[in-house]
């Protein structure tokens, strides 16, 4: 017959088995005996409800005590661990710092990647079903895309970035950026308002007259979070518009990184509100971005195929000049992320930085593992003593685990602080982005979690080594004062050698990769920009968006150069309706970033800028052949063009470019001059083929998104910031000066960014170098300690100091040589692989990759440092006194 109450006792026994070893040894038997008695004598004799109550109490008691006992053991282990770590401050600080840097850098890099690329679009619903078209599509084709209800549950088009000017009577005008959106935009994205009502799909404004939606951050900053703003009128581009809604916090539109929006204007708004509205449907139609929400069951590939046919069809119907192109028209990208990119392209964008931080993390973990192993050698006696005193393996393991965990936690906390500091430093770079770009690196807990658990994992793995040994070793051997070379000791030494080899290899790879990039950047960051940035001022104006009539704007710009030239100290003035990339550094940074991220999508296009009479002279760009633009070109809308040297060399290699014709947007232009190339001070921005068209009167009435830039060359020592502002105020007080910058300041700012990157990458390389050296020094020191006796004997037998030194260095030297060789090959291969994926990287490294100075210098530097790190402890071997070494046996 089965004993009644047997299951309670069985459960009780199971729980009791989980008590800490010491408790079990001392009281386990008594505890079970007593529980058995309580069940037998009381529980089974009680009434049913009381029996249940007693059983509950019995089980509750053992469970609560179980937790309490473990906790108290843990506290004891922790106290002991703190004491042990405090007793070896050098080891503690070094390994915690290694872990902190490894974890911190990895977290920083991943956080940055996640917040600028991978993070779901803020403020939208179900980002996974959003898609977007990679290339902008002519607005007049959008109707046909929207009509495909079988593909989309909704599609919207928007024009971005859209420059706007917010003003208020008596207040200061300010340039802000927005999106010009089809009415269904918010519905497709699933955006919600903070206040008011977003545009509906019907396209009807909420009130009379034009209405707009504002971003939460603009509402907060410009309107001090005015709770009554919705429904009221504000002045936008000099016109009165009603604020229909404020979007939810964080929502910055469908493409926040490349074009964050603070104002949304519907395409149904009156044409006079923005020049872009009027241009939307004229000619070929402005290219617009298209976002859509996939219909249920439809795949992006199906959309791609179907829309390709739609666009081809539309091109034929409209007799589009590009109707005979063969390439694919439509590429569908996931639309729900911060930066739209194909999943297949993700490795291109994030591969290189991830490889770098992985190397750093790998080295940090390797180093800590090595230090822990070295420490385990030192602790053999301590452990042996504890085993001799009766400490069980479980107890030892727990103790060592606690120590490793404590160490790893120190590293994780340090990493957290470091990552936070680095990220906030990164965020101070936001002002270097154009106004419509959005960059915010947010701390990512997942990244910290992954990096920290890797570090903790390696810490645990190697932190337990002493316990694993203790369970195998002969206690007596461990207790001997000079517990030297045991067979196990040799095995651990081999493991440490493997770790050092891994570290030297990783360090060479890291050093070379960072050196390739840093040196490549330094070289591509042109010292000679091709023009003269000193004594050059750029003034950004936009009278049309500032609310003035096109006629007045035209008259203003017609008179401006003459009036400014009259200011004493001004030597030359010219206007530009768009600015070459190299002169607009923030644009260059943005475009370089995009190139870097988007691969080859934006390379190989021609940059066309509209510049006025005398522009090349004013900015100091030399005219190599032919001529620059004259007043007549500008007045007559002449179809003449000036190209840069790169374009001349690309389009007509070995031929005379003058007099040749170029087709741009369906019109034919004649080349009248060749000017030098301009280079950006930003390293990754490449020199593109560029062409210049003359500025036109019409351009002043409908300016580009940057408004009109006035370039002013002055005599040295001229205080441009105040004098030019005063002069412009005298010419027309109603025209707002949006920016007035000294070109040399802009260049310095850009170079600063490059310097920051150099420091970051260079710092990573040096950190790797340091880690590898520390690891080598530790291994050599240990090898010397291990072989004290052997060295003593050799010296007693007449070996010279130099022989002994060679003996010790040979082992480390072999590790360094092998690691360096493997590292060199890996680094070269890796750079080529990554370069094949990322054009910008290939472009940066293509000269540095074959640089003998780097290829020999970097490993040489590492080898020299490594040998020095070996030499210092190895020297100790020569000071060993043979007598005392032998006596200690």
């Amino acid at each position: 017959m089965r004993r009644r109450g047997g299951w309670t006792l069985r459960l009780y026994r199971t729980i009791a088995r989980a008590f800490p070893e010491e408790f079990r040894d001392a009281h386990g038997r008594d505890l079970l005996e007593m529980a058995d008695e309580v069940i037998r004598d009381e529980v089974l004799n009680a009434s049913v409800p009381r029996r249940a109550w007693l059983m509950l109490c019995l089980l509750g008691d053992v469970l609560i005590r179980l937790v309490a006992e473990h906790f108290s053991d843990f506290r004891r282990d922790l106290r002991y661990a703190v004491r042990m770590l405090l007793r070896a401050p050098g080891f503690t600080v070094a390994s915690a710092a290694c872990l902190a840097i490894g974890i911190g850098l990895t977290t920083t890099m991943y956080s940055q990647i996640r917040s600028t690329v991978l993070r779901p679009l803020p403020g939208v619903t179900e980002p996974a079903t959003l898609i977007r078209l990679q290339a902008p599509t002519p607005f007049r084709y959008f109707e046909e895309i929207r009509a495909r209800g079988d593909l989309f549950s909704g599609a919207a088009a928007y024009l971005a970035p859209l420059p706007l000017v917010i003003s208020q009577p008596g207040g200061e005008s300010e340039r802000v950026w927005g999106h010009l959106v089809t009415p269904e935009y918010f519905e497709v994205l699933g955006a919600t308002p903070l206040a008011g009502r977003l545009f509906g799909g019907d396209g009807r404004p909420a009130g009379a007259g034009p209405s707009v939606v504002l971003s939460e951050r603009l509402w907060r900053r410009r309107f001090s979070a005015d709770p009554f703003l919705v429904g009221r009128a504000i002045r936008l581009n000099g016109q009165s518009v009603t604020v229909q809604a404020v979007a939810a916090s964080g929502f910055l539109g469908a493409s926040p990184v490349t074009a964050a929006a603070d104002v949304w204007i519907p395409t149904t708004a009156p044409k006079a509100l923005a020049p872009e509205l009027a241009a939307l449907e004229t000619g070929r139609g402005t290219p617009v971005d298209v976002v859509g929400r996939l219909a249920p069951g439809v795949t992006p590939a199906q959309v791609e195929a179907a829309l390709d046919a739609v666009i081809r069809n539309a091109e034929r119907t409209h007799d589009d000049p590009s109707k005979d192109r063969h390439e694919r028209r439509v590429t569908v990208l996931p639309g729900g992320r911060m930066f739209a990119m194909r999943d297949a392209d993700l490795p291109k964008a994030i591969g290189f930085p991830l490889v770098l931080v992985s190397l750093v993390l790998m080295m940090a973990c390797g180093n800590v593992a090595n230090m822990l192993l070295a420490r385990s050698e030192e602790r053999r006696r301590e452990i042996a003593v504890r085993v001799a005193l009766g400490a069980g393996t479980v107890r030892l393991v727990r103790q060592l685990l606690t120590e490793s965990l404590l160490l790893a936690s120190l590293g994780a906390v340090g990493g957290l602080l470091l990552a936070r500091a680095l990220l906030s430093a990164m965020n101070t770079l936001q002002p270097l982005m154009p106004g419509y770009g959005y960059f915010e690196a947010r701390f990512d807990w997942t990244a910290l979690g992954v990096a920290a658990s890797l570090a903790v994992g390696s810490g645990l793995l190697f932190g337990l080594a002493p316990a694993r040994r203790a369970s195998r070793q002969d206690v007596y051997v461990g207790l001997k004062p000079n517990a030297g070379a045991s067979p196990h000791g040799r095995r651990w030494a081999n493991l440490r050698n493997v770790l050092v080899f891994q570290q030297v290899t990783a360090s060479v790879v890291l050093l070379l990769l960072t050196a390739f990039v840093v040196v490549g950047w330094q070289r591509s960051a042109a010292v000679d920009l091709g023009f003269e940035p000193r004594n050059l001022f750029l003034i950004s104006l936009d009278p049309v968006r500032d609310g003035q009539s096109p006629e007045r704007a035209r008259a203003f710009f017609a008179a401006l150069p003459e009036r400014l030239r009259a200011v004493p100290g001004v030597t030359s003035v010219s206007v530009a309706q768009s600015l070459p990339l190299a002169m607009s550094n923030r644009e260059a940074i943005m475009s370089a970033k995009m190139d870097f991220v988007a691969g080859d999508a934006s390379l190989g296009r021609i940059q066309v800028d509209q510049v006025g009479e005398g522009f090349f002279d004013t900015v100091g760009l030399p005219v190599r052949r032919g001529r620059g633009f004259t007043e007549r070109d500008q007045a007559a809308d002449a179809r003449v063009i000036v190209v840069n040297e790169t374009m001349a060399a690309t389009a007509w290699p070995g031929l005379d470019p003058l007099g040749r014709r170029v087709d741009i947007e369906g019109q034919s232009w004649q080349v009248v001059g060749v000017v030098g190339d301009m280079r950006s001070a930003f390293p990754l921005a490449s020199v593109l083929p560029a062409a210049y068209r003359p500025a036109t009167a019409a351009g002043f009435a409908a300016p580009s998104r940057h408004g009109v830039t006035v370039a002013v060359r002055v005599t040295p020592g001229f205080d441009g910031a105040t004098q030019l502002r005063r002069a412009l105020d005298a010419i027309d007080p109603d025209v707002t000066v949006f920016e007035l910058t000294a070109m040399s300041d802009e260049v310095a700012q850009t170079q600063f960014l490059a310097q920051v990157s150099t420091i970051v990458y260079g710092g990573m390389g040096l950190f790797g170098l340091l880690l590898a050296s520390v690891g080598l020094a530790g291994v050599t020191a240990h090898a010397v300690a291990r072989r004290t006796r052997e060295i003593g004997i050799r010296m007693a037998l007449g070996a010279r100091r130099l022989d002994v030194l060679g003996l010790v260095l040979r082992e480390s030297g072999a590790l360094v040589a092998a690691g360096t060789a493997v590292g060199l090959v890996t680094a070269l291969a890796l750079t080529r692989v990554l370069g094949a994926m990322v054009d910008a990287l290939a472009e940066t490294t293509h000269t540095s990759l074959t640089d003998p100075l780097l290829l020999l210098g970097a490993p040489g530097l590492l080898a020299a440092l490594a040998l020095l790190a070996c030499y210092l402890p190895a020297r100790r071997s020569t000071r060993i006194d043979p007598m005392s070494a032998l006596r200690s046996e």
Binding site: A16, F23, A26, H27, D30, L31, E33, M34, A35, E37, V38, C57, L58, D61, V62, I64, R65, L66, A68, E69
Partner: protein, 125 residues
């Protein structure tokens, strides 16, 4: 009992209820765990029950604190024929118990004085 040889109790202050009852139970002589539990049950008329895990956890703490110790001959056969571990008060534990009893006595004396006062005022009314 040589009272002048008593060491001063190490940690003055209030003894936890569980500790106090266990020390009380051991004041009369060596006992094993189950007997301690029953002693406490009887002494408190069933109001305080030391469940097995709590009892042994507390015994362990008391040994660590030096208030009780295992009987010199370790585990031995109890009256019911089962092998059991016996415990007894240490000199230090004896001192702590005495101090605690004195403290409680003083407390009780003070409380009684107040109660008598209260009774008197009620009678006078």
């Amino acid at each position: 009992m040589p009272t002048d040889a008593q060491p001063p109790s190490s940690a003055p202050g209030i003894l936890r209820t569980n500790w106090f009852y266990i020390l009380l139970a051991l004041a009369d002589g060596e006992l094993h765990g189950y007997a301690i539990m029953q002693d406490v049950l009887g002494r408190t008329e069933g109001k305080v029950r030391l469940w097995p895990a709590t009892l042994y956890g507390t015994l362990r703490r008391l040994v660590d604190e030096g208030l009780i110790e295992e009987a010199a001959d370790g585990a031995r056969t109890a009256a019911d024929g089962v092998q059991r571990r016996f415990y007894r008060l240490s000199a230090q534990g004896r001192g702590r118990l005495r101090d605690e009893i004195n403290r409680l006595e003083e407390l009780l004396r003070a409380a009684r004085a107040v109660r008598d006062g209260l009774l008197r005022t009620e009678v006078e009314r």
